[in-house]
């Protein structure tokens, strides 16, 4: 008997049988049939005893090798069956990846808060503290201590909402500057910015709002100069409107500063050549500033022969409107979310 021939025949039969197997249970049967205890291959071992001793090891090895081969064939088939089964299962789980995901939206901070925070961060980087104060102020802190006595004609410039004879809704955040100077007792340098809500008696329209936001700044020490004001405001202009911006100071008048200025920044739309946005002037007015008036320093306990400094104030709405080309100030308070959603995170 030719054992090799028999094994070959069995192997052909096994391969044939495996080809028809699609299920794991059926594979078990095939396994029993070909390498089980009663399988033909196992039965071949019985012939061993009939062989001369020197041939026995080779015969045994041949059978064992065949058994291993058969086993591997069966295993390979098992894997094929399992893989197919998994593939079928996954196929059933097919999705349309182009379907939209849920609308997990993040909320948008209010643009005025966002810009205020940006300005706060810029100034904190330059060593300023952020100071706040009440919106209901005394006439004394809102006006009188700022060199605006009762009969001062400049009070017309900022007609205000009075609550009683001597309290009103603050018309600027300058009273916070006064409060800080009083708190410091005229004894140490002041370097603060004051963001907050302020009020003026204006009819609401595209460019006026009875309520708006301001950020004011104040530096008082023994040497802070107008040149320092220029450098500081240039930093603001560059930060808010781009690295290439330049600024210019035009003489103006505020009772609390002397000299006083309107500060213009070169138009970012036309780079100073003149366009409709800057009314052909190449410049856009962004804020008011000046050197603190001696009367203001003295009223808040600072010796004006020793101390000096600058102050500035900007409207947050105005900055936002210029920066983004917003055409109506009422957008900030109507909160049409189609407006609010335009100003999210990104790199800005």
């Amino acid at each position: 008997m030719d054992v090799n021939k028999t094994i070959k025949e069995l192997e052909v039969a096994l391969k044939e049988a495996l080809d028809g197997v699609e299920k794991i249970e059926a594979l078990q049967d095939v396994k029993a049939q070909f390498i089980g205890k009663k399988a033909d291959l196992s039965l071949l071992m019985r012939h061993m005893k009939d062989l001369p001793n020197e041939e026995k090891p080779a015969f045994g090895q041949t059978i064992n090798e065949a058994k291993q081969r058969f086993s591997a064939l069966i295993e390979a088939r098992r894997e094929t069956i399992l893989a197919k089964k998994m593939a079928n299962k996954l196929k059933k789980e097919t999705i349309d990846v182009t379907l939209p995901g849920p609308s997990y939206t993040l909320g948008t901070p209010h643009l005025l808060r966002k810009i205020t925070a940006e300005i706060e961060d810029l100034f904190m980087g330059m060593g300023y503290l952020v100071k706040e104060g009440p919106e209901i102020e005394s006439d004394e802190l809102n006006f009188e201590k700022l060199n605006l006595p009762k009969e001062h004609p400049a009070r017309d410039m900022q007609d205000s909402f009075y609550l009683t004879e001597d309290t009103l809704l603050r018309t600027h955040t300058s009273p916070v500057q006064v409060r800080t100077m009083l708190e410091y007792g005229g004894a140490k340098p002041v370097k603060i910015i004051c963001p907050g809500v302020v009020y003026r008696r204006d009819d609401d329209d595209a460019t006026h709002s009875h309520q708006f936001m301001q950020v004011e700044g104040l530096v008082v020490d023994e040497k802070t100069s107008l040149s320092d004001l220029k450098g500081t405001l240039l930093a603001v202009a560059k930060h808010m409107f781009g690295e290439d911006r330049k600024i210019r100071l035009r003489p103006s008048y505020f009772p609390f500063t002397e000299p006083s200025f309107e500060v213009d920044v070169t138009c970012s739309q036309c780079d100073g050549d003149g366009c409709s946005m800057c009314k052909q002037t190449g410049y856009i007015e962004i804020l008011g500033a000046g050197m603190v008036h001696n009367n203001v320093l003295e009223a808040s306990g600072y010796d004006s022969s020793r101390y000096q400094g600058f102050a500035f104030g900007m409207g947050v709405e105005r900055i936002a409107m210029l920066k983004y080309g917003i055409d109506d100030i009422r957008h900030f308070y109507v909160n049409d979310l189609r407006f609010n959603h335009q100003f999210k995170g990104g790199k800005s």
Binding site: P100, P102, S103, T105, L106, G107, T108, P109, H110, R113, E120, M124, M126, G127, L129, V130, E132, P134, E135, I136, E151, P153, A154, F161, Y162, L163, T164, L169, P189, K191, D203, H210, Q211, D221, K223, T224, S225, L226, S227, D228, K230, G231, R248, R250, P251, S252, Y253, E258, P259, F261, M291, H293, N294, Q308, F332, Y333, N335, D336, L337, N340
Partner: protein, 786 residues
């Protein structure tokens, strides 16, 4: 102030264009509102109407032969006042009128017309300045063929200054000339006045009973011939925005524009007195001003009287009784200084703001009061053939003592951050025509009366800075080093914003002024009284808000009306109470939250908002919020709660009453309003590190059935009260009401977590603990295990 360039050229040489002058002005002095050519027209000449005949084919038209020296033009004219023998303004063919309107040869009803005879309106001169109907007929000496604008002195340009309240000196042409002279570094000539007085003496006596009139000069001028002013004066008044009337009125206005000193002329015969007494009005006194209106006066209003009765409201308006008229031959000319504050009070109260009152309000140059009177007298002599009585009657209590302002070069440079030399500063002061001395680097500058705004050395620094030019200054940063940082509250607000936007809520800002009608609608404390605005601009905004909920509801409503499916918003604002300003955190949620779109989205409910609050509280390190069902007007009576922490009320959370939302055309809206400061106070300040336990916790689920009315909070409290050492937390994972439990019952699935950081728990002790809890729930709440 509208500055005529022709006029300015009387005082200084100008070679710059008006655009250049405007630019210089805005960089060194004052804002320029606009600049313009007075008349924007070309190709206008003086013509003479040789003849004027009716148009053969049109009733209202005339056919004129107009001599323009080089030729005679046939012009068809529609003005009723055209006639032969008139000097007129002719726009020849090719001429351009304001608005770019070009004149061309036309044929009007069969007659060829070569040009147009112009009215002043057609030249773009506003009607209020001339009141003329029809064509302009030139009175005065003109020559045919000459450039008409030149001949009429209308070839002028105007720079309109937007003056700040401090620069009262620029309310005069002299002041403007001084400023330009300094800016341009040019010579200035102010004309001197010479007057030939009559022998007759001015017998007026002028006195005051009030300090509110600081000085008063009066001249008696006689033999006046009232007639139109010379063309040049008319043109300059028009350029300055003042309507020419007659020579007497025009001269007072002209001199006011020149000097900034308002003048007033009384008809001397109607004045009917040899004395002027200035006094203040008594309360309730009345006076008829020259516009024939009876004015009710207040104490303090300044009255000029003739010793018996008032004749003028000093500095504000003259009286009807003594007004100069067409037949006036003698006047008392007044040049006076009144208290600025009083003039402001009177003129604003009576709504009588005029060129005069505006100048008095801002303070006039007390050094020019007499000059202005003399200058007007000189002009009246010249242009009204007047004579003037000898001596000016006056009193003058103004302080004209010499005042010296001191400023050291070092301080100038310290304030400006500049590096100016003594010579530079001296040069600038010279350009400004200031009288000064310099010694050892200190400048002693005599305060000029023409600059009443000067108070201290700061004003001088300003002058030196602006004339030197701010462009030249370096741009540096303050050298004081300090630490910039946010306060804990400021950081906290940023964290709240970060958490809530992270949870998908949009931040909004709404108005703080609201209507008193609904200010209390959503407020918990109905006894609060809102703070009222004294003089509100409208009923919609007459008080300060107590809650931001109304504002947020408006935002929800606005957006839902514009196709938004959902609105989830918050505001960090304030409540304005008599006891002070309280910071608020207000939320409103409406519509699907974090919509799953085509997948199922849980319905937004009270618990959606509660979940948002708990997430926020967790982020802020606030633990142990408690909810107490409450019933509150305008809220859903069974879906609203007060939120407390350790007995302290933080705020309110709930559903807006459906009746209210229905009125806004909205479906369910859930709101929350917290006192932000209270939340701030209980928020975690420090985070302490805790070792993370390596041992696992064990959870046990139980399902119990109990009475529907028992709040979960009470069950939880009972569980916690058992003080089981290994017990960590309990949460609700299921709530069921329905057929499988009794009608008044509910089933709750509770998940309890047990742990010990030092050892692994044994099954028996967890069973024990669970049983203890079940037993307690049975005893306390008659709950049964399901």
């Amino acid at each position: 102030m509208k500055v005529s360039l022709n006029w300015l050229k009387d005082y200084i040489k100008i070679k710059e264009s008006r655009e250049t002058l405007a630019e210089l002005m805005s960089l060194h002095s004052q804002e320029v509102e606009y600049t313009q050519q007075l008349v924007k027209a070309k190709g206008l000449v003086i013509g003479y109407t040789k003849s004027c005949k009716p148009h053969p084919d049109a009733d209202k038209l005339s056919v004129c032969e107009v001599d323009v020296k080089t030729e005679t033009l046939t012009i068809v004219c529609g003005a009723p006042n055209v006639a032969a023998g008139q000097h007129v303004i002719v726009a020849k063919n090719g001429a351009v009128l304001p608005g770019g309107f070009e004149i061309k040869q036309t044929t009007i009803r069969g007659v060829e017309s070569n040009g147009m005879i112009c009215s002043l309106d057609e030249l773009g001169i506003e009607h209020k300045f001339h009141n003329e109907e029809g064509i302009h007929v030139i009175e005065g000496d003109v020559t045919m063929g000459d450039d008409a604008l030149k001949a009429l002195f209308l070839d002028d340009e105007v720079i309109a200054l937007d003056l700040t309240p401090n620069r009262m000196d620029l309310l005069s042409m002299h002041g403007v000339a001084y400023d330009f002279a300094a800016i341009l570094d040019r010579d200035i000539t102010i004309p001197e006045v010479t007057i030939a007085y009559e022998k007759t003496k001015n017998s007026m006596t002028i006195t005051t009973e009030t300090e509110l009139c600081e000085s008063y000069y009066g001249s008696v001028i006689e033999n006046l011939e009232i007639k139109p002013s010379p063309l040049w004066m008319k043109a300059r008044l028009i350029a300055a925005g003042i309507r020419p009337i007659n020579n007497v009125v025009d001269i007072t206005n002209y001199v006011m524009l020149e000097t900034g000193q308002p003048l007033h002329a009384f008809d001397y015969d109607l004045l009917d007195s040899e004395q002027i007494v200035v006094r203040t009005a008594k309360k309730g006194e009345t006076f008829v001003t020259l516009d024939d209106k009876k004015r009710l006066l207040e104490e303090g209003d300044i009255l000029i009287t003739n010793g018996k009765e008032p004749v003028a409201l000093g500095g504000v308006m003259g009286g009807a009784k003594t007004e100069v008229h067409g037949k006036t031959t003698r006047i008392l000319l007044e040049s006076a200084v009144f208290n600025p504050t009083q003039i402001r009070l009177t003129s604003s109260r009576l709504d009588l703001r005029s060129e005069s009152s505006m100048r008095f309000e801002r303070r006039v140059d007390v050094g020019r009061t007499r000059y202005a009177l003399d200058r007007a007298t000189e002009l009246l002599i010249k242009y009204a053939n007047a004579t003037v009585r000898k001596d000016v009657a006056y009193f003058d209590h103004t302080d004209q003592s010499e005042k010296i302002i001191e400023i050291a070069l070092e301080r100038i440079n310290r304030v400006l951050g500049s590096d100016y030399s003594t010579e530079h500063v001296a040069r600038v002061l010279t350009r400004l025509r200031f009288d000064f001395k310099e010694k050892h680097g200190v400048f002693y500058v005599k305060k000029p009366t023409r600059r009443p705004d000067f108070e201290s050395y700061q004003d001088l620094i300003e002058e030196i800075g602006r004339i030197s030019g701010y462009d030249a200054l370096p741009a540096t940063l303050p050298s004081t080093v300090s630490q910039g940082e946010l306060s804990p509250l400021q950081r906290f607000r940023r964290h709240v914003r970060q958490a809530l936007t992270g949870l998908g809520l949009d931040e909004v800002m709404t108005y703080n002024l609201v209507s008193k009608d609904d200010v209390l609608t959503y407020v918990k404390e109905k006894t609060l009284k809102p703070i009222r605005i004294k003089h509100p601009m409208s009923d919609k905004r007459n008080v300060l808000r107590l809650s931001a909920i109304n504002g947020l509801l408006d935002v929800v409503s606005h957006n839902r009306a514009r196709q938004a499916d959902a609105v989830h918003v918050f505001e960090l604002g304030k409540s304005y109470q008599k006891s002070g300003e309280r910071e608020l955190l207000t939320l409103a949620m409406n519509g699907p939250y974090q919509s799953r779109k085509w997948q199922e989205t849980p319905e937004t409910s009270f618990f959606t908002l509660k979940g948002v609050l708990e997430a926020l509280a967790d982020f802020l390190g606030v633990q142990g919020l408690e909810y107490e069902q409450t019933s509150l007007e305008n809220y859903h009576p069974h879906q609203t709660a007060i939120v407390t922490l350790k007995g302290e009320t933080l705020g309110i959370i709930g559903k807006i009453h459906p009746q209210n939302t229905k009125r806004l055309d909205l479906d369910d809206v859930y709101v929350l309003e917290f006192d932000l400061m209270k939340l701030f106070e209980v928020s975690q300040t420090e985070f302490a590190y805790e070792t993370i336990s390596k041992l696992p916790s064990v959870s046990r689920d139980i399902a119990i059935v109990c009475d529907k009315s028992i709040p979960v909070k009470m069950l939880m409290a009972t569980i916690k009260k058992q003080n089981i050492e290994i017990f960590k937390s309990v949460d609700v994972f299921d709530v069921y009401e329905g057929e499988h439990v009794g009608a008044n019952q509910k089933s709750l699935g509770l998940r309890m977590v047990f742990a010990d950081s030092t050892r692994t728990l044994k099954t028996e002790e967890i069973d024990q603990a669970t049983n203890k809890i079940i037993k307690a729930l049975e005893e306390k709440h008659q709950a049964t295990l399901r």
